[in-house]
């Protein structure tokens, strides 16, 4: 490479690295908790020299991306399985992991077609669904899908409904399918139903039908110093207020 070009490349590289030296907190967060985290982050960065970026996706997709070396400082998963996955692979610091918030599992329908469904009645949900599709998260990679599968199995409805699933790659997509009327019903988190004005809750899955829905949060190994500060803020009262306004609950023990 010619000398001036080499110097220019080095200068650009130095500039880029210098820009990244400003405090950064990069959060990989499950899709359903990302909007609340964004609100909290906006309040947190006011008056500080910190930049907080949030990347929302299904927990499984995020875990695999972190495994592949994606730059992240904090990981918020929608279930323990994917957090355990990252801890086992040595990606997340086990000592930093704790449950941030909890959530509920609900059945939703488009707002203009919402009629309550009695989940205790085994025939009610299949009848309400008919030949239409039930939007759920993809069970193997989306925690909401795994919880939905577990809840339906414990209620004895899984075998009847599995052929009518419309598996989505994250909960937000499942929500959109119901809001748009493409899928007649959907199983999403209580917080998602609250956030989407186009859907209404027609039933809530009893807590006994699924494992407690908790959102573990952990520091990725090699996280920048600002990350720990933000995680501490997340344990505080301002963050708690935002979470409970969105419909999150205290994590079950």
């Amino acid at each position: 490479m010619s000398k001036p070009l080499l110097l220019a490349a080095l200068a650009l590289g130095a500039f880029v690295t210098a820009a990244q030296a400003a405090d950064q907190v990069r959060i990989f967060a499950a899709a359903s908790v990302a909007p609340s985290l964004q609100k909290i982050a906006d309040a947190y960065v006011a008056g500080k020299d910190v930049a907080v970026t949030i990347t929302p996706a299904a927990s499984g997709a995020l875990a695999k991306q972190i495994e592949a070396g994606a730059p992240a400082d904090v990981f918020v998963s929608a279930d323990r399985k994917w957090m355990d996955y990252t801890v086992e692979k040595g990606l997340v610091d086990k000592a930093s992991v704790f449950d941030l918030v909890g959530n509920s599992l609900v059945l939703v329908a488009a707002k203009d077609a919402a009629a309550a469904v009695d989940l205790a009645d085994k025939a009610a949900l299949p009848a309400a669904l008919g030949e239409e599709r039930l939007a759920v998260g993809e069970a193997k990679s989306v925690p909401a899908g795994a919880y939905a599968e577990e809840a339906l199995k414990s209620l004895g409805l899984y075998d009847a409904l599995a052929p009518r699933f419309a598996p989505a790659e994250n909960v937000r997509v499942a929500l959109q399918l119901v809001a748009r009327g493409e899928a007649k019903l959907g199983i999403v988190y209580g917080t998602d139903a609250a956030a989407e004005s186009g859907v209404a809750v027609v039933a809530t899955f009893p807590e006994t039908s699924h494992a407690p829905i908790v959102y573990p949060i952990g520091l990725v190994k090699g996280a920048g110093p600002a990350a720990a500060g933000f995680v501490t803020y997340l344990k505080g009262p301002e963050a708690a207020a935002v979470f409970s306004a969105a419909g999150f609950v205290k994590p079950a023990e």
Binding site: R133, E138, K140, S141, A168, R180, E182
Partner: protein, 229 residues
């Protein structure tokens, strides 16, 4: 032979079905459009050309989203089709065909247009002076001469339809057996904890199929050029 699960074979079979039907529908439509662009002279021709090529330059997800807005159950065209004919594209392989046609159309149109333009206009004019009407001239003169080019375009379109992902998954989601084509199956496999081996195997299959289709298309195009020179 790669180790593939029944679900993977189902995805491959579905991809073939969707791509075949998409090509079957796409080629006549593309031929008509190519003829219009090659021989027609009308206001707005450049705009039509641009609209046809739009899916080529837009992110596929945007095209899929546009299809969802127009042909989804609550969209203007989709609601009409649902109420009048009971036709619904959501989660159906027919919707995957629509997405594939829209994405492959610009490529097929380009290939066919080039081959129609290579047909000497004087041959068509001669046919006219001998008493053949425009339709007869098309079927007896233009079409046979541009056939190798049309076949090349069809093969190219088939290859494109085989690999379509972004517009398909946005428009008709990822339903195993209905809309889980090879590309969507690879995407799902790559997100499952132990799905990497399957994702790799399917990717290899997709690459080989794509390569076969592209080589076939190139050979047909060469024959087209040879036949006309």
């Amino acid at each position: 032979m790669p180790e593939l699960s029944p679900a993977a074979w189902s995805a491959i079979a579905l991809s073939f079905k969707v791509a075949a039907v998409a090509t079957l529908w796409g080629v006549p439509v593309a031929t008509a459009l190519a003829l219009l662009l090659a021989r027609g002279r009308f206001p707005g021709k450049a705009l039509l050309d641009g609209l046809i090529h739009l899916p080529l330059v837009l992110p596929p997800v945007v095209t899929g989203y546009a299809l969802l807005l127009l042909l989804g159950r609550k969209g203007p065209i989709g609601a009409f089709l649902d109420q009048q004919f009971g036709i619904v594209f959501a989660f159906r392989w027919t919707g995957a065909v629509v997405a594939a046609v829209v994405m492959a159309l610009p490529i097929i149109v380009r290939a066919i247009r080039l081959s129609i333009e290579a047909v000497d206009v004087r041959l068509e004019q001669a046919s006219g002076t001998l008493g053949a009407g425009r339709v007869a001239t098309f079927f007896l003169v233009t079409l046979p001469l541009s056939l190798p080019g049309i076949l090349a375009g069809a093969t190219l379109g088939f290859a494109k339809a085989l690999g379509e992902f972004g517009a398909t998954i946005t428009f008709v989601s990822n339903i195993p057996g209905e809309t889980r084509t090879i590309a969507s199956a690879i995407y799902t496999a790559s997100q499952t904890p132990d799905g990497d081996a399957e994702a790799l195997a399917l990717s290899a299959v997709a690459a080989v199929l794509g390569l076969i289709a592209l080589v076939a298309s190139e050979l047909l195009a060469r024959r087209a050029r040879g036949a006309l020179s």
